[in-house]
Amino acid sequence: MKNPYKPMSVRIQDIIVENETRDIKTFKISFVDENDEKGFSFLPGQFAELSIFGIGECPIGIASSPTENGYLLFTVKRAGVVTTKLHQAEIGENIGLRGPLGNTYPFDIMEGKNILIVGGGFAFTTLRSTIKYILDSNNRKRFKDLTVIYGARNPGELIYKSELWLWEKDGSIDVHITVDKGDKEWKRLEGYVPNVLKDVAPNSKDTIALVCGPPIMIKFTLPVLKDLGFNTASIFLSLEMRMKCGIGKCGRCNIGHKYVCKDGPVFSFAELQGLPNEY
């Protein structure tokens, strides 16, 4: 029987430094065993536990879309023991991967609707996966308008920069990039994400909102969405918790009776309102 604690062997193909302060890196990884690759089927929103043998594991959202073949992308911020060691890894090194874990963004509900994506800072990872998935030629017709509002503290902290500029030019997606504080070269929007959201004021009719960002951004974004007419069942958040097993057994990552690793990390705002405010 499959051992859910045993990681698959993966190799680091490439490492991209995403931000100026160099504490966010994207790892492009591929499976060592092609059977593992064939069996790895996921949708945007899910995560995997990356293993550094001898150090431990960390749960990281999958930043690549299932439409990107031959590799997976993980964008990791250096924070604790495992992520620090991962940041020291080199191209060609083998690490471990357990996944896909968690639930996905609600594509069954999103089918045929407008999609509004609101992201902040480095939490944009699984939202990138979602955008790439929706934009894929096989999928684009399944969804209507796609609006993206993404912001970071300053231009240096924006991640996936090269893709952001490509999306700006893409007619099938409406992109608004903002920073809290710009610099001399910054020519785009300046302002907090919730305020930009207010200005863009996307139509809430038949629209599903996906929100992912630091707690402070979420706190101020939710009232704006409410004012725009979004009901709580149409807003989805992706949460973070300290995790270990990733499969709903070790009892660590729960919010009320839901485990973030298993019943989440994607929750509708309606669902969260029925859960204890302990996260």
């Binding site: 062997s9 001898g54 300290r242 097993c245 709903g248 070790c250 009776h257």
Partner: protein, 348 residues
């Protein structure tokens, strides 16, 4: 043979040694130890090692299936190659017998089954031990002052989680097979067993009635689950005050199953181990960012009570407490969960 058609047997106490000896030819038998200060289950290499005591073992049966330290796999620290050969077999014939498990502890195993086996993905380490072990439980004639199993859906004669249940009728045991595996095992010692008569059944019924009368029924748990839906009730502000935040209640509890996973490397030998952890510890939910959603003992105490009496019923349809009383007996500050719950039920 269906459950209704199973017959109960009688084993005279003077044949008990033979019974154990016969079984130990094919299986390894374990029994709670009351002399070993580790308070654990010990291997029975001779029948006189089995003690019939009025109390329960200090450590719960869960450590047999979910040990405090378990190697998930080993790896070479240089090459990072993994090996978990132990778990590569899928067939698990019965190899071990746990004898003398109290019904509350056997019940607790059925609760842990829900977490480790029924909820996907299943845990192969637990399954291997579970499928290769038979549980013979011993009904309680003399519940203790700290027992409260009847308040949480268990009984001194509960059969849940056990393969066979023994009833002590003073000079003989009444043996009831509960599962199919039990039938096979008992068939191998059939010659030692007699059939239970109506008189035997009457005696058993009598003893169990007396037993149940000893235990106080402190609360109705359906009401408790509903009451606890009030996450922000004011009683949480006082309930936690005496708690020291150690792990005794969680480690000794038969149904607590929180664990940690850590890597350990000694020279070139690496292993990933699973170890018990406790929601009562201050760093249990500490994020790498420094944020802790449960920063004080208030939140942690609330989590423990809610997990057992509100979240588990929602997830598994069961209260995760069997009323064994260990948390009451061993708490260094005599924090009594029955008092806590009474306090919760009495609040507006």
């Amino acid at each position: 043979m269906t459950k209704d058609k199973r017959t109960d047997f009688i084993l005279e106490k003077n044949r008990f040694e033979e019974f154990i000896r016969s079984l130990s030819e094919k299986y390894r038998i374990y029994s709670p130890s009351y002399t070993d200060t580790r308070g654990h289950f010990i291997e029975v290499d001779s029948p006189d090692k089995i003690k019939f005591n009025q109390t329960n073992s200090k450590l719960a049966v869960k450590s047999f299936f979910f040990p405090q330290v378990e190697n998930l796999f080993v790896f070479d620290a240089e090459t990072k190659e993994l090996s978990d050969k132990e778990n590569e077999t899928t067939a698990h014939p019965i190899q071990h017998i746990l004898f003398g498990v109290r019904p509350c502890d056997a019940f607790s195993i059925s609760l842990l089954d829900a977490v480790f086996m029924k909820i996907s993905p299943a845990d192969p380490y637990y399954i291997k031990k579970r499928h290769s072990t038979m549980i013979i439980s011993l009904a309680c004639n003399h519940p203790r002052q700290t027992c409260f199993c009847t308040s949480v859906g268990c009984q001194p004669d509960s059969e849940k989680g056990a393969d066979i249940i023994f009833f002590d009728l003073e000079d003989r045991f009444l043996i009831r097979p509960v599962t199919d595996t039990a039938e096979e095992i008992l068939n191998s010692v059939r010659t030692l067993l007699g059939s239970a008569t109506d008189c035997d059944q009457e005696k058993k019924k009598q003893l169990m009635l007396e037993s149940k009368n000893i235990i106080h029924k402190d609360f109705e748990f359906d009401d408790l689950v509903k009451k606890l839906d009030n996450f922000n009730a004011s009683y949480w502000n006082r309930i936690y005050e005496k708690c020291l935040g150690c792990g005794i209640c969680t480690y000794l509890c038969p149904t607590c199953h929180c664990f940690d996973i850590a890597d350990e490397v000694i020279e070139s030998n690496g292993r990933r181990v699973r170890t018990w952890d406790s929601c009562m510890f201050s760093l249990f939910t500490l994020h790498a960012s420094g944020h802790n959603p449960r920063p004080t003992q208030k939140e942690r105490m609330r989590q423990r009570i809610m997990h057992k009496f509100n979240y588990a019923p929602k997830n598994y349809d069961q209260i995760f407490c069997v009323g064994c009383g260990r948390c009451i007996m061993y708490c260094p500050v005599n924090l009594d969960i029955r008092q806590l719950i009474k306090g919760i039920m009495e609040e507006e």
